[in-house]
Assembly symmetry: C2
Homo-oligomer: 368 residues x 2
């Protein structure tokens, strides 16, 4: 597959850590929320094996925050999501599908309530700040919407626990999954959550002070030598194998949250007020006609720039949305939107690329 | 300067023309509106000289349309921009700064009214569709907001006139600057505007049918041989020399339209209703304290990932936002946000990169 360079510009913002990761062996970038996001260091297969065994420090500053402050902040955040936020606690992270008035997906952030009238919506890749601004202006809400200079470092991998304990103290290792709290390091306080976009365990450090963040970055690498720490990034193989969905890849504004398997984050029964509630009630009555599932395909490589059609003979089975070669399964694995009549896991399909047809099979998410 | 690959994914959508430009010598991509946008073929200097002498076909599908349809469509479009759209005509393009309620820049699209209740907002790089959706929902407007499958081809360069006349007929060469109309080609109709993001003359073809667009693409190359046609893309050197501003590079949500020199597109005196009007009235009273200007710097290369500080001794002069080496001026040229006390064109400044200080000077936009 041909490779192309990325043209840099201020429009695709560098992060506080860019010069560090570039000198630490970065090979590929992607972009995310108008910012550079590392995509590969030693190649995604080597990165994958390392992530599953050791610990990595990820520059995920591109996971930008929409900050919403004010008397109506809770109302505005709730308006955008079908997840019931009425009992949200400070100190917990909430994964929440954001939808539009038609009940279609806009983003799947983690939401953090920092205090009574201050929220962070920690974004996947779309300008939810503009949606929030539009709603706040249209509804005359007292809610100030901004993008604070928060640049997340994720510490991921089975040894993340040991590394974080060594650098930030024993207390950080007591954090429960999706809990967050503030922890001191050399005179600065860091919001740290036990979270991250892998299933290899880890933490996300919401860095609010660039210089303090760089000091912490360097300390993580020097303290991490004994754990074989390396720079890393969200890994395409690991996240597909783990069934972590990617906004813009696996779903987009054409899909509803039921089709994405987000049922447990949808509350159409209580009296909370969110946009798209009517639409979701209707969809729920009718039931969905397709959903996201995992697939395995007899191929040793694949390139995705758009969804690809899966066929069973002449019948349409679904659309492949994400895919990558998995060294574990020794085939291409992927995530696809599958038509209801093919939800039976014994279904096989063909995928045609160029003039070559390959066979594949459907399985539940996550892959096993 | 180190180069990095771009990692492909469905999230950074390919265009209908991607496979063609990749086999025609593409070397670098950028991303724009969640889509791939070509950034270089033979290198931006070679591309620049060719663009200024011949004709290029650009895959600018990433210039996505926000389509707004419905009884309240005109009201919604006007709400987002400080340009007076009350007398807008079908068949004309309108460059218009979009702002938020604080009077800060969100985008600088070209707006096309296609019929009484159908508009296209032809975007720079931000999700204005989400802003429009938020406003429409918040204000209960009858306006349907969507992103149609429109994939623009730009034909740019001094020979664009001849090429377009040869392929689409004499009538197309009668189009006036920023006029648009429909033109037939092999049984399909194409919306064509005399516009484009260069000052070398040209057209933008709003392709609504992918297959018809590919046929037209191929015809442009086969008919264009005698004009030395090549694939191209928005050229960083040409656009900075021409003073064409880039949203996200030269300005962002921290800047107001007066600071960007958009005064002639601001109407705070008539009774039109747009968000941010109060804020702009206030800013207009106070006057701006900085504005975008051109700069020349004694350097032979530069890389931009964030704005860079310009100093005069110990005094802050401004922020460099975009910059590139210009083979015409034989130095780096750029666009910078300059503090009022330095608007005098005789000001010089220093720019420090690494430990190296370079001298520069300020001039009006566009560079001469």
């Amino acid at each position: 597959m041909k490779k192309f360079y990325i043209a840099k510009a201020r429009r695709l913002r560098g992060t506080p850590y860019s010069s560090r990761i570039e000198s630490q062996g970065l090979t590929a970038y992607t972009t995310y929320n108008h910012m550079l996001l590392p995509a590969s260091f030693e190649g995604i297969e080597k990165d994958y094996f390392h992530l599953k065994e050791h610990v990595q420090v990820w520059d995920v500053a591109a996971q930008r925050q929409v900050q919403i402050i004010g008397k109506d902040s809770a109302k505005l955040v709730q308006l955008m999501t079908c997840r019931n936020l009425s009992k949200v606690e400070v100190g917990r992270c909430y994964y929440a599908p954001l939808i539009d008035e038609q009940g279609k997906m806009l983003n799947d952030p983690v939401i953090l309530k920092l205090s009574g009238e201050k929220w962070w919506v920690s974004l996947a890749d779309s300008d939810i700040g503009l949606y929030a601004k539009g709603l706040a202006s249209g509804l005359r809400l007292q809610a100030e919407v901004s993008e604070p200079d928060v640049n997340i470092l994720a510490i991921q991998g089975p040894k993340s626990f040991k590394l974080m304990e060594k650098v930030l103290g024993e207390k950080v290792s007591k954090l429960k999954f999706f809990g967050f709290d503030y922890f001191p390091f050399k005179g600065n306080k860091f919001l740290i959550a036990k979270s991250g976009w892998s299933k290899q365990n880890g933490y996300e450090i919401y860095v609010e002070n660039r210089e303090a963040g760089l000091n912490l970055y360097d300390e993580l690498f020097s303290a991490g030598k004994e754990f074989n720490v390396k720079p890393g990034c969200p890994n395409l193989i690991e996240r597909i194998e783990s069934g972590l969905l990617s906004c813009g890849n696996d779903f987009d504004n054409g899909d509803n949250p039921y089709e994405c398997g987000f049922d447990k984050y949808i509350d159409i029964k209580s009296d909370i007020n969110f946009l798209g509630k009517k639409a979701l009630i209707q969809i729920s009555k009718e039931g969905v006609k397709r959903k996201l599932m995992a697939v395995k395909i007899d191929l040793d490589q694949i390139e995705m720039m758009e969804e690809k059609t899966l066929q069973n003979g002449k019948s349409f089975v679904g659309h492949l949305r994400s895919a990558v070669y998995s060294p574990h399964f020794k085939k291409v694995v992927g995530i696809a939107m599958i038509k209801k009549e093919y939800w039976n896991k014994k279904t096989t399909f063909e995928l045609e690329i160029g003039n070559k047809k390959s066979k594949g099979s459907i399985c539940d998410l996550p892959l096993v």
